[in-house]
């Protein structure tokens, strides 16, 4: 077990080293930030002054060592576009994305498991079949079209919910939250559904197929023979055993939710990290892109690592083959 964990930790470190190298080469080789910051009208002195100020006149190995030192402290320098500390901008934007991702994840997990169990138990029922075929369409619809559809329905036609932004937020220390105001909660509904829908259908389909598999097994038949009620059989005996693969998928999808938030945030102009990243790409704002890349890779690596180790702990077969 220890060698398995060690091997996985080494792999994760390798991923971080590689993404770190990519992030650094973005700084040194991509475009000329001076061009982006100063625009067309500039003097040579301006260019030289800014180059020295940003440390871009130094040799590449020096810049690399400097980058590693700074990155480890979460310092990615100054945004080319906004002229402010990247870490400051990220801290400011993070609460919006994390709140959105958390609500979407809870929605996806709760609704996904509930619908999955329902469609498995009432396999022949009309409602279950309708849910299953709707979910197929849901999987093939691109996320941004779902968002637009929801905006059209609930903002333009019905006028119930806001179509963009976060509503009013309350500041608590460094954190801003939309949970405490009515407009904040209302603004959260549509983006959260858009973001969580794909993961919800995924979890639902997985729970359903696992559940159908488990319900066929002998111990369920035995439980029925003992005269246990359907409720106890379905939830205490069957659902428990379907949870192993489901937990893995949920873990991996958490990272996906944060990544796909980029799309949802753009549709709803949600002031989070995803929107920040997209704007950074549009304006080739390298420090912001690099910081986002490093942040999200740390997140993904940790999630993958934890899921793999958890899985190996739950399922001993994996430990043997992993050696």
């Amino acid at each position: 077990m220890l060698s398995f964990i060690l091997k996985r930790v080494m792999q994760s470190a390798l991923v971080l080293v590689i993404t770190g190298a990519i992030a650094f080469s973005m700084f040194s080789f991509v475009g000329d930030p001076i061009d982006n910051m100063l625009g067309q009208e500039r003097t040579m002195e301006d260019v030289e002054r800014l180059r020295a100020q940003l440390g871009l006149d130094q040799p590449i190995p020096v810049q690399y060592v400097k980058f590693l030192k700074e990155a480890a402290q979460g310092n990615f320098g100054v945004s080319y576009r906004q002229g402010r500390e990247v870490s400051e901008i990220i801290m400011e934007r993070a609460p919006a994305t994390l709140e959105l991702a958390a609500v979407s994840a809870i929605l996806a997990v709760v609704a996904g498991i509930a619908l999955g169990v329902f469609t498995a138990i009432r396999r022949q029922g009309l409602a279950a079949n309708v849910i299953m075929s709707t979910s197929l369409i849901g999987v093939s619809l691109p996320t941004f079209l779902i968002g637009i559809l929801l905006i059209y329905l609930f903002s333009v036609e019905l006028g119930w919910l806001p179509s963009f932004g976060r509503g009013e937020v309350v500041r608590i220390g460094n954190w801003t939250t939309g949970f405490l105001t009515e407009s904040g909660r209302k603004a959260l509904i549509l983006p959260a559904i858009t973001l969580g829908l794909y993961q919800m259908t995924l979890i639902m389909r997985l729970v359903r197929s696992e559940m159908l598999e488990v319900l066929r097994q002998d111990y369920i038949r035995f439980a029925r023979a003992r005269g246990l009620s359907d409720r106890v059989i379905n939830f205490r005996h069957a659902l428990k055993n379907t949870m192993v693969p489901v937990i893995t998928i949920i873990g991996l999808q958490l990272g996906a939710i944060i990544a796909f938030a980029i799309i949802t945030e753009t549709v709803f102009q949600w002031p989070g990290l995803g929107l920040l990243f997209i704007n950074a790409i549009q304006f080739v704002d390298i420090p912001v892109m690099a910081a986002y890349l490093m942040m999200i890779s740390v997140m993904f690596v940790i999630i993958n690592l934890v899921v793999d180790i958890l899985y190996a702990m739950i399922d001993p077969r994996l430990r043997v083959t992993a050696k």
């Binding site: 475009g31 691109p142 905006i151 333009v156 990544a259 753009t266 997209i278």
Partner: protein, 317 residues
């Protein structure tokens, strides 16, 4: 030759078409209504994109054919100033929406096909190398694949797009955007091809015909491309079809986010991005028709890919 041949030619050697029509695959195809309908829909869309200059009323990107007075004409209603009417209305600049969709679909499909082709070629080459040589080659290629698989492919594509955009000079960015897009989507998608090809190569390389080829002194490159590759192509074909649908959606998503096809060369995603800003003022058609086209395209190719996977899967027969 005026003499009648003794045996009618079709009987002696059935034509390629005849053989294709008699095959098991085509029989399975005819029996599946979903496959037939989605094949017809995708074929129609692809053909209308290819022949867009013949079908479209106007070339929406030729400024001389545009009339700003025609702007915001609803579908099938005469314009208040010019009296002209359009099947799917016009956008803010008076461009016929139907024509922009046809031309936009060309770009979406071109990017989709080119990106998948790029991913397939890259995946096949790296997969063959990893599977055939094993050892260090295998370790390096498959580790790189693992690292990339840690991240969702759309994120990888965005990042590659951002970096490539930074490298291209500012004055060429709009012209290069399409190629950058192909590179980004292709590079984000090679891993699955490489994995499948590697797996199949590992099986094939121990078979007798490969040993025989090696014995008569064929070079590794020739063995991989001429002997092994033809035997492992069918799973690649299946993944490529499903990948095409995903690549079309990925392209639309990137363009919608503003990190893809530029407004001067709009794909379906760019059109949807433009249309979204008119949703609130009631000009629904600028968004609605491109969105429906994208959906029809992605869904029909996807269903076709699903069907092909089931039809070519020997375990399901």
């Amino acid at each position: 030759m005026t003499d009648q041949p003794l045996v009618p030619e079709t009987q002696a050697a059935p034509s390629r078409l005849r053989r294709a029509l008699d095959s098991d695959l085509f029989y399975a195809f005819r029996r599946s209504p979903v496959a037939v309908v989605s094949a017809i829909v995708s074929l129609l869309l692809i053909l209308s994109a290819v022949f867009a200059p013949l079908i479209a009323m106007t070339n929406p990107f030729d400024p001389s054919s545009l009339n700003l007075m025609n702007g915001f004409t609803p579908p099938l209603e005469p314009n208040a100033f010019t009296g002209e009417s359009f099947l799917m209305g016009t956008d803010d600049q008076g461009r016929d929406v139907f024509s922009t969709i046809l031309y936009g679909m060309r770009i979406s499909l071109f990017v989709g096909f080119a990106a998948v082709l790029f991913a397939v070629v890259l995946g096949i080459v790296l997969g063959l190398l990893a599977g055939y040589f094993g050892g260090w080659t295998d370790t390096i290629i498959m580790r790189a694949a693992d690292v990339q698989l840690t991240f969702p492919s759309i994120l990888v594509a965005m990042l590659i797009f951002g970096i490539a955009k930074g490298i291209t000079p500012v004055e060429h960015r709009d012209q290069m955007a399409i190629w950058v897009l192909i590179l980004a989507i292709g590079l984000s998608d090679w891993v699955q091809f490489a994995r499948v090809v590697r797996g199949a190569t590992l099986v094939e390389k121990n078979k007798d015909y490969v040993s025989a080829a090696r014995l008569i002194g064929r070079r590794p490159g020739a063995i991989m491309l001429r002997h092994i590759l033809p035997n492992i192509l069918s799973p690649v074909l299946v993944i490529a079809t499903i990948s095409l649908a995903l690549a079309i959606i990925a392209e639309a998503t990137l363009s919608f986010l503003g990190v893809g096809a530029p407004p001067t060369q709009p794909s379906l995603g760019t059109l949807i991005r433009i249309g979204q800003s008119y949703l609130f003022s009631g000009e629904w058609w600028i968004l609605f028709f491109p969105a429906c086209t994208l959906l029809a395209l992605a869904l029909s190719v996807n269903l076709l890919g699903d069907w092909l996977r089931d039809a070519l899967n020997p375990r399901l027969k």
